[in-house]
Amino acid sequence: MELLTNPLSLTVLLPALAGLGIFAIPRGNAAALKGYALAASLVIFALSLRLWAGFNPDLAAMQFALDKPWLPSFGISYSVGLDGISLLMVLLTTFLMPVSVLASFNYIKESPRAYYAALLFLEAGMVGVFAAADLFVFFLFWEAMLIPMYFLIGVWGGPRRVYAALKFFIYTMAGSVLMFAAILWVAAAHHTATGAWTFNIPALYAGALTVQAQFWLFAAFALAFAVKVPLFPFHTWLPDAHVEAPTAGSVLLAGVLLKMGVYGYLRLAVPMFPQAAQTFAPWLAGLGVVGVIYGSLVAWSQRDMKKMVAYSSVAHLGTVMLGVMAFEPAAVAGAVLQMVNHGLSTGALFLLVGVLYERRHTRLIEDYGGLAKVMPGFAAVFMIVTLSSVGLPGLNGFIGEVLVLFGSFRVYPWLAGAAVAGVILSAVYMLGMYQQVVFGPLRHTENKILRDLDLREWLYLLPLLVFIVLIGVRPNPFLRPVLPAVNAYITLSGARPAPPSPAVNIAVGGEERK
């Protein structure tokens, strides 16, 4: 029964149970179905708030830990636990869930029962990935989560949904296969060295591996995660998946699934293979910066709003990777916060595109224009979200961006310097889109009768806005629980003793004057 009394384990399992429970509702009763799904996601969110309340922000250790032997002969156990990083990720997931459910009410007409069940199963998988403290369990959740997402895109998606779903699935699978082989290797190596089987993640940190083995294992993990992030040039599945996915699918894909890639580096790839990570880090950071500039520029040439937001995600996640690979407290903490920020602002952007799509059934920028006149509420929300996305000070995006830039500058001055270009480019494409959609005259007659946001839409947008402002003004409550975990990550990466001394790096490229 510990499985259900441990609040973390309950947060993992309850969505799955709720997903099963949905089939008890009669097929035709749409209202009950929606109510049930919303209530379930809200209850799960409330549960996760207990995790927030009970979390000790000063500890780096796993909290709410539960370790139940599962396949003891291989050292596999159902093992979960939270540190500050996974805490934020779990909360982001459970927070975006009711939002996604609420945003689906009008859009999903076809087999809603299966749809909401898929959403809840997806939630179980996502929370599971962030909560897992066992490599085997991690992998199970990692793979399990793909299935509902595959169906969300492939069944309830747009016209090219089958292509997009398959591409998403195969791309991710290709990465996962290598990762699974690497997982088995790591466990076997640990067995050879110690004579005991274990898949416990902390136990596998910095194991007895040759540098050569570390190199290949890290590469396998890194590839799987790079696809998920997505790091340039492994990103082309993302625009397709986003464009075809239903609104809720896009919100969760951008908001949570992409974060799993970064989370994988933080939790697994770097701490398990620190030496290899040190070798690869500048390259991964470099790819991140390439992503910032490349993603921004390509976003600028998009005419489909969802595609533009998808490419902007490549840019944002590039910033995050730069931070994570800097192994500097401010940069890593900023990257973790930026993961949350991206979930909020990009989630909100997809919701807003969804609002328009439900009214006009087009996502092309040129089909809009002048919406401020007919949809002032929408225009205001869109403005705030746009500003959050471009990192305007006072809103959430700025905090993450500044921490990543200032922090990573101490380690990679050139890369961080180049990443500043993102500050300009994000304004170029985001404000460009905003202007074309919201400003100007109402060119299309169809747009003259668009109605403004209704109560339901306000209900799922407002909570996002609240956090967009709150994190921008008072980021510390969100940063504080993260910091011990970040320091642990940096120590495990073997980077440099904390606090880092950036003197060496700053002086590179310059000589002493005196």
Partner: protein, 631 residues
Amino acid sequence: MEGNYYPLLKWILAAPLAGFLLNGFFGKKFLGEKAGGIAGSLAILVSFIFAALSFSDLLNLPPENRLLRDTLFNWISAGTFTVDAAFRFDPLSAVMALIVTGVSFLIHVYSTGYMKGDAGYNRYFAYLNLFVFFMLTLVLADNPLVMFVGWEGVGLCSYLLIGFWYEDPEKATAGKKAFITNRVGDAGFLLGLMLLSGILAANNVIGMDFETLKASASLLSGYSFFGVGAATLICLLLFFGATGKSAQFPLYVWLPDAMAGPTPVSALIHAATMVTAGVYMLARLSFLYELAPRALEVVLLVGCFTAFFAAVIGLVQKDIKKVLAYSTVSQLGYMFMAAGAGAYAASVFHLATHAFFKALLFLGAGSVIHGMSGEQDLSKMGGLKKEMPVTFLLVAAGWLAIAGVPGLSGFYSKDLILEKVFEHGGGFVWGVGVLTAGLTAFYTTRLFVLAFLRSKRGHGHAHESPLSMTLPMAALALLAVGGGFFLKERLFVFLDPSFVPVHGHTPQALRLMMVSVAAGVSGIVTAFFLTLPGPAAAMKAALPRAHALAFNKFYVDELYALLLLKPLRYAADKVLYALVDAGLIDGLLVNGAAKASYSAGKALARAQNGRLDIYALIFALGVAAMLLWII
């Protein structure tokens, strides 16, 4: 921590923020026009009162101890990066806060008349209040990062207000251009801060507040990059940010377009306050610039060039607001010249007097535009002296002040700047400055003559503006006339307690002054002559090339489009997206790999055709190959 804890500071900021929330959330539905306008103006008045109170408290302190601080909370803290939401009130902040709140209040009152009947009335006041909030954040900030909040915040409000009439795509585009150009500068600002913070962190200096920075600025001397000292590099990067916000070469291009906004906005944001942020920043960080004489040289030269260049463009513009816009760019150039010569107090002095007379001129232009139902073309004006006598008189005060007529405010500050520039050793820069003073006198006189004197050239009847508009103008006219005389010594003593007022002028200063006055007078006289239809046409015909070049703003916008925007657009659309993303990565590699495995599968499937004889053949071949290999 040094300085006196002073909890009143936050109220200077809170009032305009409250005004923004009030008009932004409840304006249209609950307040309506009248109450919304009053609430917006009152919010600024409250802010002004708190600023004045703080000012008087500051004055009561001994000069060497004049620093009030209010730290609200620790804003960001992660690792060795920590920033407080903290504000300071020292003489420099005090001067800025008083100018900002004072001029803002007058312009808010003016706006209640100017914007009457506009559909976005409450939205307008909400944005304007938000602007004042961010501007005050900028000038009261106690560390560069909070300053950056204000810095970008005012840029946002500028964007929103330039594109206030968003249905006109041209206006919306002008807003976007302003924001993006400013962001280019902001990127430089951020880079400068990153470098500064990186070096300080390397030396275990954690605080970012100005006092700490000042105390540890000497640490920078140990670093250099490619032979450029760290201090110089930081100062240049920060100055690049200033060229964005304060519309200096090469980033000035957004300001003339920004005239698309409502005219009171041009007066407040694009003349009196926001565009002076760069000047303020240099004065605030003067302790850094003192370490970087080479950066100061750049500031001096850029300011000098911009002052002259913009004045030349301003000579021939037809749009009354465009003339004033280029004039603003030019006058800001003067302020940077002063800063570049190390005379920060002089630059702040000119900042103050410019805020008075330029806000006045813009409001006057607004009054004219309002009176002529939206006409902005100088060539269609004329004879307004009779139809708008009050506006005529008030604008005359602004005109004479900017033209440098002795005794008025512009004279004192400009003359001081030229004197300082000369002392700094820049005979050439001084010469350009004097020449620009002549040009300034010329284009303002031209504007004045074409609009108010001469005979009427356009059609329709103009009407005088209401009191709500003329009264704020009168207050500004008073400041434009007497402000320079009143402030000249008081301001310097206040800003720099070690300043010793000198009475009378040295013979050299007197000579310099006479030259610049002569330049101003000849500018005025020439303008009276050259605006006569005959000479004007003759002049234009004599120098058609030069006129076209200046009128078309030296084609700088076109040049940027050709050299920067188009290539970037091409790279994004054709190279990165079409070729690399869709073609190479997705087409060739991803879908190519998929297609390759698909056709490989198809090819292999052909082998599984169910014919036993083929299977037997392959089997036999396989066995043969194995045998061959074994033997």
